[in-house]
């Protein structure tokens, strides 16, 4: 049953990707491409689709991992302060006139911030040789508030135009996507996803609690650390590719539990697939609906995703997490 559903999911994802390439503010006929249209498809639309798919995959998979590791249905990759930390370092970098890496400056500073915050949250969550879920969560929420406050402070006292741009970007903007960043994002996201899939059985065991994890032959501390690293890699890469996109990390795993089941071996790839397809669709809608204006994808994901999720919640007799 779930095999059929996953096949359907894959087909839908491929259709969405194709639509994103050829539909949009300008509809392109794939069978008679002019030179200009080739340029639009391969230099503008394709990299944007790839970025959307990569970010959505990373967020969906990271959400599925984190909800299991923290044993908490409300966990989303941003709850640990990773995105607000990334925004803060990106903003600080711009304010201090750090432009040495050209167009890589924003993504690079964001990635550094995301990685530093992951380490910091991990350090706060560490006790007696392991990561403690409640400590991680509380440390993340606490740090998140702090970073937000500092960011707001910077915004209210600064007149720097670059900072405004950075903030817009950090709140989820795919319009700057081009090929240059994709290889870096791809490497980190693929590494994170690889670890997550490799440790999916251990994640299932962790969901049952540390004692069953031990009894089933895993070290709970070791597995939690590995999965945390996997989640942090995917989240940091996603933030530096296109900023912060809400909804997917929190709710895609819940939606996919209806579709593919709760077993992490199916849930992680399904959440990745669903997240990628969904962000791609949201971006297509966002750039088409009010042309020539663009609605940021993060807004679209929330506006179309949340009602669907609430509908599922009412309809299905499943207590999801």
């Amino acid at each position: 049953m779930s095999k059929i559903r996953i096949t359907v999911l894959i087909i839908i994802a491929l259709l969405i990707i194709l639509c994103s390439l050829f539909l949009g503010p300008r509809v392109i006929n794939p069978f008679g491409l002019s030179e200009v249209e080739k340029e639009i498809v391969f230099s503008i639309r394709l990299p944007r689709v790839v970025v959307a798919v990569l970010m959505g995959m990373a967020l969906g998979a990271a959400g599925a991992v984190l909800q299991g590791v923290l044993r908490n249905p409300l966990a989303d990759p941003y709850i640990l302060g990773i995105s607000s930390g990334a925004s803060l370092t990106a903003a600080l970098g711009l304010l201090s006139g750090f432009y040495s890496f050209g167009r890589f400056t924003l993504p690079l500073t964001a990635f550094i911030g995301a990685s530093l915050v992951s380490l910091l949250v991990g350090a706060f969550g560490w006790k007696r040789g392991g990561l403690w879920p409640e400590r991680l969560l509380l440390a993340g929420v606490g740090l998140s508030f702090l970073f937000h406050a500092i960011l707001m402070l910077l915004m209210s006292v600064s007149t720097n135009e670059g900072l405004r741009r950075a903030l817009l970007w950090i709140f989820g903007d795919l319009s700057m996507a081009d090929w240059s960043l994709i290889p870096y994002g791809l490497v980190f996201i693929a590494a994170g996803l690889f670890i997550a899939l490799l440790r999916a059985k251990a994640l299932n065991a962790l969901i049952l609690g540390d004692e069953f994890t031990h009894s089933l032959g895993f070290s709970a501390n070791r597995e939690r650390l590995l999965l945390f690293v996997s989640m942090a890699l995917m989240t940091a890469a996603s933030v530096s590719l296109g900023g912060t996109i809400g909804f997917i990390g929190l709710l895609m795993p819940h939606i996919m539990r209806f579709v593919a089941g709760a077993d992490s071996r199916a849930l992680i790839p399904a959440s990745a697939l669903g997240g990628g397809a969904f962000l791609c669709l949201a971006d297509l809608i966002g750039k088409s609906i009010f042309t020539p204006m663009e609605v940021p994808s993060g807004i679209v994901t929330a506006i179309i995703g949340s009602p669907y999720f609430l509908y599922l919640l009412r309809r299905r007799d499943v207590l999801s997490i």
Binding site: G68, R71, P73, K201, N204, A205, I207, L208, G209, D210, E211, F212, H214, S215, L216, G217, F218, S219, R257, G261, A262, D263, D317, V318, L319, S320, I321
Partner: protein, 258 residues
């Protein structure tokens, strides 16, 4: 496990455990479990039953003393190898993720590259959950959930089971069925079982019981000697009455009604 093993299945030697130096949770504990032994672990709340089972399973590391599993130090086993020999069943089953019963039970196979003797279907059948294989674990009653986890433990197929209050939340019917199932495993597959329990009257039917107080062994052996009025009063700090029925059964209770 075959009888080729001459060493006891599990051996604790002068084991102590403490979180802080002034209070020992487990103190100077020495006992062993042989092949096919079924030991009931009794004691008041907070007496250290759960801690003893966690030490024996390797979840907690002893502050002093040594623990051996089939003649080798427990800590020397690789996690996966240990999981094929020893299975631990915690007291609290806290699950809020909608795994299907079949998927949950199949997790018992995680330590294995090659699936062992019994299948997930057989394990579910053994606990009477076969017709609920496709149900969500979160939609089952407390007792059914417990049986699903027990099926997972059965599928894991370890030779030593350490069970912390597996009878809690079970109707009397399933208590009896589970005890029968465990006895069958012991009789037919020579599996060793150490099980914490609360019901003294069920403990009376065990071949061997261990009475714990303050992290120490008060008595170990046949129930008829260990579960005497004096020992039980000492262990539970309450007056105890032992009645014998005309048919020869024994019933232990408190002389006062509440």
């Amino acid at each position: 496990m075959s009888s080729a093993y001459s060493a006891p299945v599990l051996e604790l030697e002068r084991v102590g455990f403490t979180y802080s130096p002034d209070k020992k949770i487990v103190d100077n504990l020495t006992f062993s479990a042989g092949n096919g032994e079924f030991i009931g672990l009794l004691g008041a709340n907070g007496s250290g039953k759960s801690t003893i089972l966690k030490l024996a399973s390797g979840i907690l590391k002893p502050s002093e003393g040594s623990i051996t599993l089939w003649g080798k130090p427990l800590q020397s086993y690789r996690n996966k190898d240990r999981a094929k020999l020893l299975s631990y069943f915690p007291q609290l089953l806290d699950i809020n993720v909608p795994f299907r019963v079949r998927d949950l039970v199949s997790m018992g196979l995680y330590p294995y590259d090659i699936p062992p003797r019994i299948t997930a279907d057989e394990a579910m059948e053994a606990v009477g959950l076969k017709e609920k294989a496709e149900s969500y674990i979160t939609n089952l009653s407390g007792g059914e959930r417990r049986r699903a986890f027990i099926a997972m433990t059965l599928l894991q197929g370890a030779g030593l089971l350490l069970l912390d209050e597996p009878l809690a939340n079970l109707d009397i019917k399933y208590q009896i069925e589970l005890l029968r199932l465990l006895k069958e495993l012991k009789d037919n597959k020579n599996i060793s079982i150490i099980m914490a329990l609360h019901d003294i009257n069920i403990a009376l039917r065990f071949e061997k019981v261990m009475l714990i107080k303050g992290g120490r062994i008060l008595g170990i052996g046949k129930p008829v000697t260990v579960l005497s009025k004096e020992m039980l009063e000492e262990a539970f700090d309450v007056s105890i009455e032992i009645r014998r029925s005309e048919t020869g059964g024994t019933y232990i209770g408190n002389e006062k009604n509440f």
